[in-house]
Amino acid sequence: MVQRPEPELDELYRELILDHYKHPRHRDPLPHADVRAEGYNPVCGDEVDMQLAFDGDRLTGIALQSRGCSISQASGSMMSGLVEGKPVREIRRLSDEFKQMLTDPDAPVPDDLGDLEALRGVGKFAVRVKCATLAWHTLADGIDQHEQGNSAVTREEA
């Protein structure tokens, strides 16, 4: 077993994370959404409702309402700020980068994830990784729906 230094709690609960948790962004439901998606984590019961608006292959609007722990809520809040206005292909790249940051402790720290970089410490608490990726899985599901021209609600299990 590889011995790594014991993770400290303040690596997980950084100031920026707590700020997003207490004051989540993009929380007001989107009135004219093209797509709605729901995310659910059966391990802890966390839920996300997400509305997305698109202009072609560009995500022009995102809103999410979630029930869950600080990590899942903060991740969703930070993500919404990062991806709004970006083309779908770029969002997919950022999503992969984010997931790699959480699962590979030796990966170089990305410089284009904005506030989400604060979630890097989550990778040291393996059971919390799914909390941090729930909103991303939900977003991916919403984008898939958009590309398939399907606006029905589906449920993504993280």
């Binding site: 707590l18 391990v43 802890c44 019961g45 839920e47 029930r67 869950g68 600080s70 919390r128």
Partner: protein, 416 residues
């Protein structure tokens, strides 16, 4: 043996360990309990001295292993006062498998479309999903008994839901979330009026209080060794002999047959009819010293200790501003599990902070999602106690809420 917690603690090697530099405070006993030296030694002794497959070999080791395995069966049967402990105790993997055994082996043979299966709103998924599956396969219907705001079954609803169509009443004796002790003896009386069979989920009750199947007059009782000082991987199903005899086997294979041809087979007598294949020999054998340990303490003394520490925990937690405690407030009406939330702090965040203080609790839906919806919450935190827990561990839990406060601010109630 008197109830001397310090002496008890010396029998549990794991209680010496530190977590994140702090002494372990283990408050997740409803999930699984720790194991005393006597149980750990019994496992090692078996593997070092008489490891062999049972019921077949004619050599010394096989005879010794068989004798020890069957002795555990009788030991488990006597612990719950079974009339025929050598025939009415079936070893399974866990409570879940015990319940699945009954749902399948009894349900497939005797349930008909329109028959009703009654359970309660506080069942663990293990006493819910097996019945959903068998209802789907047989056309039987599901009904559940509702609970009131204090976490008790509503008696009028017991009388309303159990009736002429009821064929099975499946009910937990002690809720794994609320701790509520249900009046299963009285419920069994009602069920019997209509000729329904009664399965008691004893996963939480058997480890924590005296349980007597002849006094309850239940038809089946399911519980797990690992929640009562024993090894993981051993479940118990008690069943009345005539009912077990009437059922078809659950799993087929070696050890459960008498005569086999390519076309058909005749089955072994009880209890072997329900134990196909090589069982979990070592863990079953090491279950016996766990029962010995509890009996030496006395189940009345175990219960008295848990009432004392549980009431202390309810009182101390309730006194913290922002804490909501769910379930009965009187420890005399419940087992040693206290379920709570702290402000609107998510239990996973709370559990993470407590872990850093060396305190192990459970956070989540406790495999009882329907009950969580009844309570109007997504998840809760749960502290659960056993024979080795001291009041100062409750104090450590309450103090650690302060650590959560320092990170999240006043019970995390600041968020809109």
């Amino acid at each position: 043996m008197t109830f001397d917690i310090e002496k008890i603690r010396q029998d549990f090697p794991i209680l010496d360990r530190k977590v994140h530099g702090k002494p372990l405070v283990y408050l997740d006993n409803a999930a699984t309990t720790q194991k005393p030296r006597q149980v750990i030694d019994a496992l090692v002794h078996y593997y070092e001295h008489f490891n062999a497959n049972i019921h077949r070999g004619l050599h010394t080791l096989a005879e010794e292993a068989t004798a020890a395995y069957e002795a555990s069966r009788v030991r488990a049967g006597r612990f719950i006062n079974a009339a025929h402990p050598d025939q009415e105790i079936i070893f399974t993997r866990n409570t879940t498998e015990s319940i699945n055994l009954v749902a399948n082996a009894w349900g497939r043979k005797f349930l008909r479309p329109g028959d009703e299966i009654v359970f309660s709103a506080m069942e663990h998924h293990s006493n819910l999903i097996p019945w959903q599956l068998i209802a789907g396969a047989t056309g039987a219907r599901l009904r559940y008994i509702e609970i009131d705001a204090t976490g008790h079954l509503i008696w009028d609803d017991v009388l309303a839901k159990i009736g002429e169509r009821t064929k099975v009443v499946a009910i937990s004796q002690m809720s794994n979330v609320l701790g509520t002790i249900n009046p299963v003896k009285q419920i069994a009386e009602v069920a019997r009026r209509f000729g329904a069979i009664v399965l008691v989920d004893g996963a939480q009750s058997v480890p924590h209080m005296p349980v007597d199947v002849r006094d309850l007059d239940c038809d089946f009782l399911a519980f797990s060794a690992h929640k009562m000082l024993g090894p993981t991987g051993v479940g118990v199903l008690y069943g009345k002999r005539d009912l077990l005899d009437a059922m078809d086997p659950f799993l087929g294979g070696g050890e459960m047959i008498k005569r086999v041809t390519f076309e058909s087979s005749t089955y072994a007598d009880l209890p072997h009819k329900f134990e196909a294949g090589t069982p979990n020999i070592a863990d079953v054998i090491a279950f016996a010293p766990a029962i010995d340990y509890l009996e030496a303490l006395g189940m009345d003394a175990v219960r008295a200790h848990e009432i004392e520490i549980t009431q202390y925990a309810i009182d101390q937690l309730s006194a913290v501003e922002g804490v909501t405690v769910y379930g009965p407030a009187d420890a005399g009406e419940k087992g040693g599990a206290v379920t709570f939330n702290y402000g609107d702090l998510h239990p996973h965040d709370l559990s993470q902070v407590l872990d850093q203080e060396g305190i192990a609790i459970r956070a989540g839906h406790h495999c009882a999602q329907p009950l969580m919806r009844e309570l109007g919450v997504v998840a809760t935190a749960r502290a659960s106690f056993y024979i080795y827990n001291r009041k100062d561990e409750v104090d450590a839990l309450v103090d650690a809420l302060g650590a959560a406060d320092r990170i999240f601010g006043n019970g995390a109630t600041t968020r809109a």
